[in-house]
């Protein structure tokens, strides 16, 4: 473990710094969510939008939920759709459980879980050693308000965001994902190969008939389970090193 003993304020600061690009991307996506057709059809008020985003922090998941709200469907449908659209967080949570300090306070598990999103998961797990709750909280404190406020403003404002700006901001999150995935891919040829396979498979699934009808969240789960299983079977990690340092 290359764990450097950083102080809590230093960890919060580091997290907050990496929370900035997340927040920018969140704001753009949340704004789009707030002025989406589903949100309008559901009659979502700015406060309701704020509340939904604060409590759920889930982009595709919330969008699916707004569809249920707009259709005034049964609550059972809300439960089922939320399970499907957010199932990938189950895998992320399982991956994070393996990197928690066993001596750490249990409360951290409860709080960190609440904020598992694609982006916050990504930056938190990208650091070597045990996951740092304080680093994650720093990122949350910057990024989460952007998500909630973006949704509320989107609900209030309709479509005032210049498309040019929205388009540019929308790739911030993907840029961040690349910054997390590419450096290990450079170090390990296996990971580079996996990234290439993922790109190809994901592209194929989004364009082919039938499978492209499956929602994006569900496609992510299907591909994650298949590709990560195949990788684990073909290229098992050396025993004991899997949960540790090199996932940076």
């Amino acid at each position: 473990m290359s764990e450097t003993r950083s102080s809590i304020p230093a960890l919060l600061r580091q997290g907050a710094r990496n929370g900035i690009p997340i927040g920018l991307g969140y704001f753009a996506v949340a704004f789009a969510l707030g002025c989406s057709k589903s949100a309008v059809d559901a009659g979502l008020t700015p406060f309701q939008g704020f509340l939904a985003s604060l409590l759920c922090s889930a982009s595709a998941g919330e969008y699916a939920g707004l569809g249920v709200m707009a259709a005034k469907s049964a609550l059972v449908e809300m439960v089922v759709i939320s399970l499907i659209a957010n199932a990938r967080y189950l895998l992320m949570s399982a991956a994070m459980s393996q990197r928690m300090d066993p001596e750490g306070n249990f409360i951290h598990r409860l709080v960190m879980s609440f904020f598992i999103t694609d982006e916050l998961f990504a930056v938190t797990i990208a650091r070597p050693g045990y996951l740092s709750p304080w680093y994650m909280y720093g990122a949350i404190l910057v990024a989460s308000p952007c998500w909630s406020l973006g949704t509320a403003l989107g609900c209030a404002a309709g479509d005032v965001m210049p498309p040019r700006l929205g388009s540019a901001l929308s790739v911030a999150l993907f840029g961040m994902f690349l910054a997390i995935v590419i450096p290990p891919a450079r170090r390990e040829r296996v990971i580079a190969g996996i990234v290439a396979v993922c790109f190809a498979a994901s592209f194929a699934m989004s364009r082919l008939p039938v499978v492209s009808q499956i929602s994006e969240g569900t496609r992510t789960i299907i591909l994650t389970v298949i590709i990560a299983s195949a990788a684990a079977a073909l290229f098992p990690r050396p025993q004991g090193s899997g949960e540790g340092g090199e996932a940076a």
């Binding site: 939320s82 040019r164 540019a168």
Partner: protein
């Protein structure tokens, strides 16, 4: 039904999904396969979510492709999270001045 009821049900389901593995899996998983699987999950999930979504997110698909190339090169050369994210945004903004 009130929107608030929907929002609370949605929030409860999503929190359960997120909190159950983190709280129920308290000790290291012994199986080498599962260990390896969970090691690969972040890379696979993030890669799958990045492409082709980055191309579909922009007004012009070519701007997304350029952002992808710039992002991969910058990250390969060792740029951090924030610089890569900003470079991708700038690439899209500038290329769409010409493309759109």
């Amino acid at each position: 039904m009130s929107n608030y009821v929907y929002i609370l049900v949605m929030a409860a389901v999503i929190y359960l999904i997120r909190v159950l593995p983190m709280t129920l899996i308290r000790r290291p998983i012994r199986s080498r396969f599962l260990q390896s699987f969970l090691f690969y999950v972040p890379y696979v999930t993030l890669s799958v979510m990045t492409f082709p979504a980055i191309v579909d997110a922009t007004q012009h698909p070519l701007a997304g492709v350029l952002a992808l190339v710039v992002g991969v090169v910058a990250a390969w050369l060792g740029a951090g999270l924030m610089p890569v994210a900003v470079l991708c945004c700038v690439t899209v903004f500038l290329s769409e001045l010409i493309l759109v």
